[in-house]
Every structure is written in structure tokens, then in C-alpha cells.
């Protein structure tokens, strides 16, 4: 019974977090939700008897993907702030 409680909670949290990550208009919030989602997925993998996958998910799925998403948001902001189109990429050919 207690197992069902834990798994049910993990499953429903996963759905809620995914929904938040996909519907949030604030990109930073969406990414934060996604990272928490990834960590929870790692927990789900251990519950399903896949510890190898859990380690990879925490390190790559949540950690690295999250870091990539965050740095991209930052770089997008920087680029917009700089705002100068790069001449070297002017339409040629």
C-alpha cells in the first residue's frame, strides 16, 4: 500500500511538472520545472529497478540538459541585448 502511495505520488508529480514545464510562459520557470522533472524521472527509474538509467538521467537528462537550456536562455538574452546583426553573416551567395 505504501509503495502504491510513493509511486502514485511520483507519477502524478511527473505529470504535473511536465505540464508546468510545457505551459509556463516564463522560460526560466519552464526550465527549472524541467530540471526537477528530470530528477523525479531518475527516482522513477530506481523505482522501476533501473539504477544505471537513474544515474545517467540525473547526470545527463536533468543536469546536463538543464545546464544547456539555462545557458542558452542566457545567451539568447545576451544576443538580444547586443542586438547588432553580424556583418559576416550578411546574405551573400
Amino acid at each position: 500500500m505504501i509503495e502504491w502511495f510513493v509511486d502514485g505520488l511520483v507519477g502524478l508529480m511527473l505529470l504535473w511538472l511536465a505540464w508546468q514545464a510545457l505551459t509556463s510562459a516564463d522560460l526560466l520557470r519552464a526550465v527549472a520545472m524541467f530540471v526537477v522533472f528530470g530528477l523525479l524521472v531518475a527516482i522513477a527509474w530506481t523505482r522501476l529497478g533501473a539504477p544505471d538509467v537513474a544515474i545517467a538521467e540525473a547526470a545527463i537528462g536533468a543536469g546536463l540538459t538543464g545546464a544547456l537550456l539555462l545557458i542558452t536562455i542566457r545567451r539568447l538574452q545576451d544576443q538580444r541585448r547586443a542586438g547588432v546583426p553580424d556583418e559576416r553573416h550578411a546574405e551573400t551567395d
Binding site: 509503495e3 509511486d7 502514485g8 510545457l22 522560460l27 529497478g49 544505471d52 537528462g61 537550456l69 553573416h89
Partner: protein
């Protein structure tokens, strides 16, 4: 319904949510999140197929999911770089 089946259904639901986001969202980043969540849904169905019968779990789906996770992060890195490049040429 077993716990495994429950997780499999969660996986299907994630797949559907990610799919909708991929088609309906307009911003690159949201669509990339959609793809990742869709992928997680598929991985969950795969992992539950391992836990299907008996005490010992089948390692083959686990290996497939590991491969899938690495492919997913590669694709994500590329997609993010591409959206940065697009933004630059705007």
C-alpha cells in the same frame, strides 16, 4: 493494474503531452522541452517493458534507454545551438 502498468501509462501521457507541445508551441525552447518530455515518455514505456515479468529485470531496455538518453541530449544540444544561430541571423 500493477505499479509497472501505472508507470507505463504515465509514460504514454508524457508522450502525448510532449507531442502536443511540439506541434502547438511556437517558441523553439518550448518545443525542445516538448521533444525531451516526449522522449522521456517513450523511455518510460521501454523501461516498464523490462520490469514486465519475474524477479530479474531485462537489461536490454535499460541499455536502449541509456543510448536514447545520450541521443536525446545530443539532439537537444544541437537544437539549442540552432535556435541561437537563427536568433543571430534575425
Amino acid at each position: 493494474m500493477t505499479v509497472t502498468d501505472f508507470y507505463a501509462l504515465v509514460g504514454v501521457a508524457l508522450f502525448v503531452m510532449g507531442l502536443c507541445a511540439l506541434i502547438l508551441r511556437s517558441r523553439d525552447l518550448q518545443r525542445i522541452l516538448g521533444l525531451n518530455i516526449m522522449g522521456t515518455g517513450v523511455f518510460m514505456v521501454l523501461v516498464t517493458s523490462a520490469a514486465g515479468n519475474g524477479e530479474v529485470t531485462d537489461p536490454v531496455p535499460h541499455a536502449m534507454v541509456l543510448t536514447g538518453i545520450v541521443v536525446a541530449v545530443s539532439a537537444t544540444a544541437f537544437a539549442l545551438a540552432l535556435s541561437l544561430a537563427r536568433e543571430r541571423r534575425r
